[in-house]
C-alpha cells in the first residue's frame, strides 16, 4: 500500500487532503489501516508458516496426525481480541462521524445550493443570488479564521453524488431528499472530482471543478457573476438567433428574455474554462462544435442537435463568446 502525502500520483488522491473533512478522514484511515495491517501481517504469517511447516512429507508420516477437535481457551482468546479491536475502531469512527456530520456553519460561511442534473451541476449562491454551472468557486479558508463553504445538495432528476476527494468524502444528491456537506480548503488551487452515483448514460462525463481562490479574487468573481449579461452590438445577430430558436426553452441569460431552467445558466459562459460539465475545453472551436451537435462530444446528453445552419452557428458562437 502506497501512502501519499501530496498529489503526486493524482489530483484526486484521497490521501492528499486539502480541507478539514478530507484531513479528518485521512486521520481515521491511518488508524484503520494500521490495525488492519497488523491483523493482516499476523494472520498472513501464521498461514504461511502453517502451509510450510505442516505440509505432507512423502514417506515420513504414514499415520494420520493427532486429531484436535477444539480448544476453549484458544477460541475464547481469538474472540475477545477481535471484540476489543472492534470496540476501539467503532469509538474512533463515531467520533469522526460526529465531527464531520454535526458541524455547524460559522458566521461568514459561504452557502451554495448544488442541484444535480443529468449530466451537469447547477450552483446557486444563497446570499448573492448568483447562478452558475459546472465550475464552483469558493474562497480559501484560513484555519485560524475559517470561512468554509457549506453545500446544500439537491437533485432535479435522478441520484448523483458530489465527490472531490481532496476536499471531502462524497455525499449523494437525491431527489426529494436534501443533503448537506461542507469543505474548507486550506490551499488555493483547482480541485477535481466527478459524479459518483450512476445517473444515466453520461454519468462518466459529469465532472467537478472546484476553484479555490484568495478572498479578494473570490469576491470579485462573485460580483462579476451577479451582473447581467454583457450587452454587445457585434453579437446582436447571434442573440437574435438564440432568442428565436429553442435555446431559450432550456437556458437562462440574465438580463435577456432567455429564462429556461432545464440547462446550464449561460450568462457568463466565457468565464468558465470548460463546457459539457468539465469534459470539453471552452474554446470557440469546441463551443461551435458543441452547439452544432452535442451528441458528438457527449453522446446521450440531454441537449439535442439544433439543426442550425452554418451562418446561424457562427452567429450564436459569436454571441456565446461575448458572454464574459
Amino acid at each position: 500500500m502506497i501512502l501519499i502525502t501530496g498529489p503526486i500520483l493524482s489530483p484526486t488522491n484521497i490521501f492528499a487532503p486539502a480541507s478539514t473533512p478530507a484531513q479528518t478522514i485521512q486521520g481515521l484511515s491511518f488508524l484503520v489501516l494500521t490495525i488492519t495491517g497488523a491483523i493482516f501481517l499476523t494472520v498472513f504469517s501464521l498461514l504461511c508458516y502453517a502451509v510450510v511447516k505442516f505440509r505432507e512429507r512423502k514417506g515420513r508420516d504414514a499415520a494420520e496426525p493427532a486429531q484436535v477437535y477444539g480448544s476453549a481457551q484458544i477460541e475464547l482468546a481469538w474472540t475477545v481480541v477481535p471484540v476489543l479491536i472492534v470496540a476501539v475502531l467503532f469509538l474512533a469512527t463515531v467520533r469522526v462521524i460526529a465531527k464531520i456530520q454535526n458541524a455547524e456553519p460559522p458566521t461568514g460561511a459561504i452557502k451554495v445550493t448544488v442541484i444535480g442534473h443529468q449530466y451537469w451541476w447547477e450552483y446557486r449562491y444563497d446570499d448573492s443570488k448568483v447562478v452558475t454551472a459546472n465550475e464552483l468557486h469558493v474562497p480559501v479558508s484560513d484555519p485560524a479564521h475559517p470561512t468554509p463553504t457549506f453545500l446544500t445538495l439537491l437533485s432535479a432528476d435522478t441520484d448523483h453524488s458530489f465527490w472531490v476527494p481532496r476536499l471531502a468524502g462524497k455525499t449523494d444528491l437525491i431527489p426529494n431528499h436534501p443533503n448537506s456537506t461542507w469543505i474548507d480548503p486550506h490551499e488555493i488551487g483547482l480541485y477535481l472530482g466527478q459524479c459518483s452515483q450512476y445517473c444515466g448514460v453520461q454519468h462518466a462525463k459529469m465532472l467537478l471543478r472546484v476553484y479555490v481562490e484568495a478572498r479578494p479574487d473570490f469576491d470579485r468573481w462573485l460580483t462579476e457573476q451577479s451582473r447581467p449579461a454583457v450587452a454587445s452590438d457585434s453579437a446582436a445577430q447571434g442573440r437574435q438567433v438564440f432568442e428565436t430558436t429553442a435555446c431559450v426553452n432550456c437556458h437562462t441569460i440574465s438580463g435577456t428574455a432567455a429564462n429556461g431552467k432545464f440547462g446550464p445558466d449561460l450568462t457568463h459562459l466565457v468565464s468558465r474554462e470548460t463546457i459539457a460539465a468539465g469534459s470539453v475545453r471552452n474554446t470557440p472551436q469546441n463551443l461551435r462544435r458543441w452547439i452544432d451537435n452535442p451528441q458528438k462530444l457527449k453522446q446521450g446528453c440531454l441537449m439535442p442537435a439544433m439543426g442550425l445552419s452554418d451562418s446561424q452557428l457562427d452567429a450564436i458562437t459569436a454571441y456565446m463568446e461575448s458572454l464574459r
Partner: protein, 557 residues
C-alpha cells in the same frame, strides 16, 4: 452401515437415443441431476458474465477509449452484475447444495423433488428472459434492450421517465422469477435438513456443509422476499401509475435503497456461506485433521446469518442518514467481522499440526484463506463510515467485493468442483491441468483485483464508461485489464479439463480422497437412490469411525 456399490459405467452400456436422454434430463426430479443442471446452467452464465467483463475491461484499458459506446457499456455492467449474482453464483451454489446435502445427511433425495425441479426451471427461465432482452431495441451490437440501470437499479433512474422502453422490466422480471426459484429451493433445503437426516445423525453430528446450507436457506427465505416486494412496487410504479419511488409525487428514492439492500446484504452472505461450507469440508480432508471447533463454527455461522440482516445500510453511508444511524450500521458491520474472523482462525487451526496435501482442491482453499482475509480487512476499512465516504462507489469498493466473490467464493467453488467432480462423474480430473488453472488464475486474479484498489484510492468512481487522462488512473487500468486475460485463459483450461476428464479421465472409485463424510460411501456417480440401506451414524465423521475402529470420533464428541 453399508451400501451396495454399483459400478454403473454409463459409457459401457447400450447407446440410447438422444431424445430419450434429453427427455430424462428435462423431466428429472432427482436432486443429483437437478444439481448438475444448475451447475451447467451457472457455468454457461459465468461465461456470459465473463464476456461482459472483458468488454468492459477492453473499453477501460485507456482513457477516452471508444471500443463500445456509453450505452453499450452501461448495459454491460448491468448485465454483468445481474448475471453473475443471480444466474451464475446463486445457481451454482444451489446446484452443489442440491447434489450434496441429501448425500451428506444420508437421505435419498430432497424433501420436495418436484418443487426442486420447478425452482430450477423458474431460475432457468429467468436467465433466458434476461438474455432475451439483448434481442430488441437497437439490435445486438447496441446490446438490444438489455437493462442499463446497474444491478441494484436505483430509483428514480428506473422510473418510466428515466428508463424508457422495457429494458428495466427485463431486469425486474428475470430477477423476480429467479427469486421465486431461489425461495423454492431454500424451503426445500430447510425441510430436507430438518426432517430427512439418517438415523443417528443429530443436528450436532451433521456435516458443516449441511449446517451452512441450512443457514443460507434461512437467509434466502427472509432476504429474497424484500427484493421481490420492492420489484413488485417498481412494477406498480412503472405500469399502474403508482408512486412508491416517484420523487416528483413525494415518493422516496431512499426507500428503494433500503429495500434493495435489506435484500442485498444478506444476499452476499447467501453466496459466502456455502463457500465457507466447501472450505469447511475440503480443508480438514487435505489437512488430515478434523475441523477445529465444530460447535463454534456452527455458532459463528448462525451469528453471521443473524447479524447480516442488520448491516444493510453500510451500502448507504453517503446517502445522508443521521450520524446516529450511520453509527449503528458501523457497529453492526464491524461486529460481523468477529464471527467471520473466528472462522478464518478455525480453518487455520485445522491446518495447524496437520499433514497438508497440496492437491488442487486444497490449493484453491488455501488461496481462499489468504484472499478472504484481505477481502475482510478491506471490508473493515469500508465499515468505518467516514473512510467509506471517500471509498464508496469507487473502484476500491469494486475491488473489495470482487475480492470476496472471486477471491473468496469462486476459489472455494473451484475447490469444490475439483473435490466433488470425481464423485459426480466417476472420473478423476487431470491434476497437472488443475494446478495450471490454479496458478494462472491466481496470477490473473491478483493482477486485476489487487491493483484495482489503487484507482479507487485515487478518486476513480465506478460505472464510468471512460475516464479523464491526467488523473493517474491509466497505468492501473491497463494492469487490471491484463489480469483479466490470464483469468480468461485459466477458465478455459478449467472447462477443458472437466469436459475432457468427464469422458476420458481414469475411474475415480467411490472415495479417492480418503475422506470421512457419507457421500464417499456411495459409488461414483451414486445410483439414483443414493443408499440401498440408509446409513446409521454415530459421529460427525462416519467414515473416519469405520476406517479407525480403534479411535473413533464418538469417543471424543
Amino acid at each position: 452401515m453399508s451400501t451396495v456399490p454399483l459400478t454403473y459405467d454409463g459409457a459401457a452400456s447400450e447407446r440410447r437415443p438422444l431424445g430419450e436422454i434429453l427427455h430424462e434430463w428435462v423431466t428429472t426430479v432427482d436432486h443429483k441431476r437437478l444439481g448438475i443442471l444448475y451447475i451447467l446452467f451457472a457455468l454457461t452464465f459465468l461465461v456470459f458474465g465473463g464476456i461482459e467483463a472483458t468488454i468492459m475491461r477492453i473499453q477501460l484499458i485507456r482513457p477516452h477509449n471508444d471500443f463500445v459506446s456509453p450505452e453499450v457499456f452501461n448495459r454491460m455492467f448491468t448485465m454483468h452484475g445481474t448475471t453473475m449474482i443471480f444466474f451464475a453464483a446463486m445457481p451454482v451454489l444451489f446446484g452443489f447444495a442440491n447434489y450434496l446435502v441429501p448425500l451428506m445427511i444420508g437421505a435419498r433425495d430432497m424433501a420436495f423433488p418436484r418443487l426442486n425441479a420447478f425452482s430450477f426451471w423458474m431460475s432457468a427461465f429467468g436467465g433466458f428472459l434476461l438474455y432475451f432482452s439483448l434481442l430488441g431495441g437497437n439490435g445486438l451490437y447496441g446490446a438490444g434492450s438489455a437493462p442499463d440501470v446497474g444491478w441494484f437499479a436505483y430509483a428514480p433512474l428506473t422510473s418510466q421517465t428515466f428508463s424508457l422502453g422495457h429494458s428495466t422490466d427485463y431486469w425486474t422480471l428475470s430477477v423476480l422469477l429467479s427469486g421465486i426459484g431461489s425461495i423454492g429451493t431454500a424451503i426445500n433445503i430447510i425441510a430436507t435438513v430438518i426432517s430427512m437426516r439418517c438415523p443417528g445423525m443429530t443436528l450436532r453430528r451433521m456435516p458443516l456443509l449441511a449446517w451452512l446450507n441450512l443457514t443460507m436457506a434461512g437467509l434466502v427465505v427472509l432476504a429474497i422476499s424484500p427484493l421481490t416486494a420492492a420489484q413488485l412496487m417498481l412494477l406498480i410504479d412503472r405500469y399502474l401509475g403508482g408512486h412508491f419511488f416517484d420523487t416528483q409525487a413525494g415518493g422516496s428514492a431512499v426507500i428503494w435503497m433500503h429495500f434493495f439492500w435489506i435484500f442485498g446484504h444478506p444476499e452476499v452472505y447467501v453466496l459466502a456461506i456455502p463457500a465457507f461450507a466447501f472450505a469447511s469440508e475440503i480443508i480438514p480432508v487435505f489437512s488430515r485433521k478434523a475441523i477445529f471447533g465444530y460447535p463454534v463454527m456452527v455458532a459463528a455461522t448462525l451469528a453471521i446469518g443473524f447479524i447480516s440482516m442488520s448491516v444493510w445500510a453500510h451500502h448507504m453511508f453517503t446517502v445522508g442518514m443521521t450520524a446516529a444511524s450511520n453509527g449503528f450500521f458501523v457497529l453492526s458491520t464491524m461486529a460481523i467481522a468477529v464471527p467471520t474472523g473466528i472462522k478464518i482462525f478455525n480453518w487455520l487451526a485445522t491446518m495447524w499440526g496437520g499433514r497438508i496435501q497440496f492437491r488442487t482442491p486444497m490449493l484453491f482453499c488455501i488461496g481462499f484463506l489468504f484472499q478472504f482475509l484481505i477481502a475482510g480487512l478491506t471490508g473493515i476499512m469500508l465499515s468505518a463510515a467516514p473512510f467509506d465516504w471517500q471509498l464508496s462507489n469507487s473502484y476500491f469498493v469494486v475491488a473489495h467485493f470482487h475480492y470476496v466473490i472471486v477471491g473468496g467464493i469462486l476459489f472455494t467453488l473451484f475447490g469444490a468442483f475439483y473435490y466433488w467432480f470425481p464423485k459426480m462423474s466417476g472420473r478423476m480430473y487431470n491434476e497437472s491441468l488443475g494446478k495450471l488453472h490454479f496458478w494462472l488464475f491466481v496470477i490473473g486474479f491478483h493482477l486485476t483485483f489487487d491493483f484495482m484498489h489503487i484507482p479507487g484510492l485515487l478518486g476513480m468512481p465506478r460505472r464510468v464508461y471512460t475516464y479523464e487522462p491526467g488523473r493517474g488512473w491509466d497505468l492501473w487500468n491497463l494492469i487490471v485489464t491484463i489480469g483479466a486475460l490470464f483469468q480468461g485463459a485459466a477458465i478455459i483450461i478449467f472447462l477443458a479439463n472437466l469436459l475432457w476428464s468427464r469422458w476420458h479421465g481414469p475411474a475415480a472409485g467411490s472415495d479417492p480422497w480418503d475422506a470421512w463424510t457419507l457421500e464417499w460411501t456411495t459409488a461414483s456417480p451414486p445410483p439414483e437412490y443414493n443408499f440401498a440401506v440408509l446409513p446409521e451414524v454415530k459421529s460427525r465423521r462416519p467414515l473416519w469411525d469405520l476406517k479407525h475402529p480403534e479411535d473413533p470420533d464418538w469417543h471424543y464428541e
